[in-house]
Assembly symmetry: C2
Homo-oligomer: 149 residues x 2
DNA sequence: TTTGATTGCGCAATCA
DNA sequence: CTGATTGCGCAATCAA
């Protein structure tokens, strides 16, 4: 819950905010400023290829540079937003699955109970048959009807 | 896979990398350099409180500054690592839940089938009883009926 | 007040 | 080359 940067708005630690609408000129974000061609010390010759544009510090004030930066900044923002979205979706997915799990477990519990009842009935019958009992009126089956949905 | 920054190692776009082991002195990472007291423009007087240490640009070369920065950088790295861990854990959680879901559904399918069988048996019995058939040892008689599916 | 934890942001390298 | 990703450092906040 806060946004700050060092580019467009210089945070006056207290409340002073200097706005650099398109901060091009100033020396913000300074970098060593490598020598134009080769650093004095280890001038490691780059692989024999084109060196027309790369290998050069690329002026920070260059108009093209700022354009590229801005585009990248947009891309970065977009990418991060997407990333966060995905993360949230994943969290929702977890909750969704958890709910479904509960539902399934409940159903299992129900089915198990039904099965239990029916099996008990069977056992009772088996008993009666084994004891050679004439099934007359003793047919008290605790019917627990049901039918899934 | 790649790390770059603008602090310790100045990326010589090609391969030239100037290493600033403890880059303290140079004018790296320049910031507008707010005036010591108030920026030229909107000199918004800070809330009448202590301004001994805050509200000042805090020397970028200050030893204490670098220490704070380094500590924060560590904290940031740690925090981000933790964040990524959590994200991965969440993903694993999803897979875990998915698996459990499948298991539960399989179980439901099984239970449902069992129930179906038992119910069919019951229906058969009920038929026999209704038809007033004397259940001998094996219950099949003048009844030419179905046998469930 | 201090300090670690978070978070938005920009930069640069690299991937695609 | 261009947009997408990703690691990193900075600064503002938040939270103890």
């Amino acid at each position: 819950m806060s946004e700050a940067s060092q580019q467009n708005t210089t945070p006056g630690v207290n409340g002073i905010s200097v706005i650099h609408t398109q901060a091009h000129a100033s020396g913000l974000q300074q970098v060593p400023q490598l020598g134009p061609a080769g650093p004095g010390g280890g001038g490691k010759a780059v692989p024999p290829s084109k060196q027309s544009k790369k290998s050069l510090p690329m002026d920070r004030n260059s108009d093209e540079y700022r354009q590229r930066r801005e585009r990248n900044n947009m891309a970065v923002k977009k990418s991060r937003l997407k990333s966060k979205q995905k993360a949230q979706d994943t969290l929702q997915r977890v909750n969704q699955l958890k709910e479904e799990n509960e539902r399934l477990e409940a159903k299992i519990k129900l089915l198990t109970k039904e099965l239990s009842v029916l099996k008990d009935l069977f056992l009772e019958h088996a008993h009666n048959l084994a004891d050679n009992v004439q099934p007359s009126s003793t047919e008290n089956t605790t019917d627990s009807d049901n039918a899934g949905q």
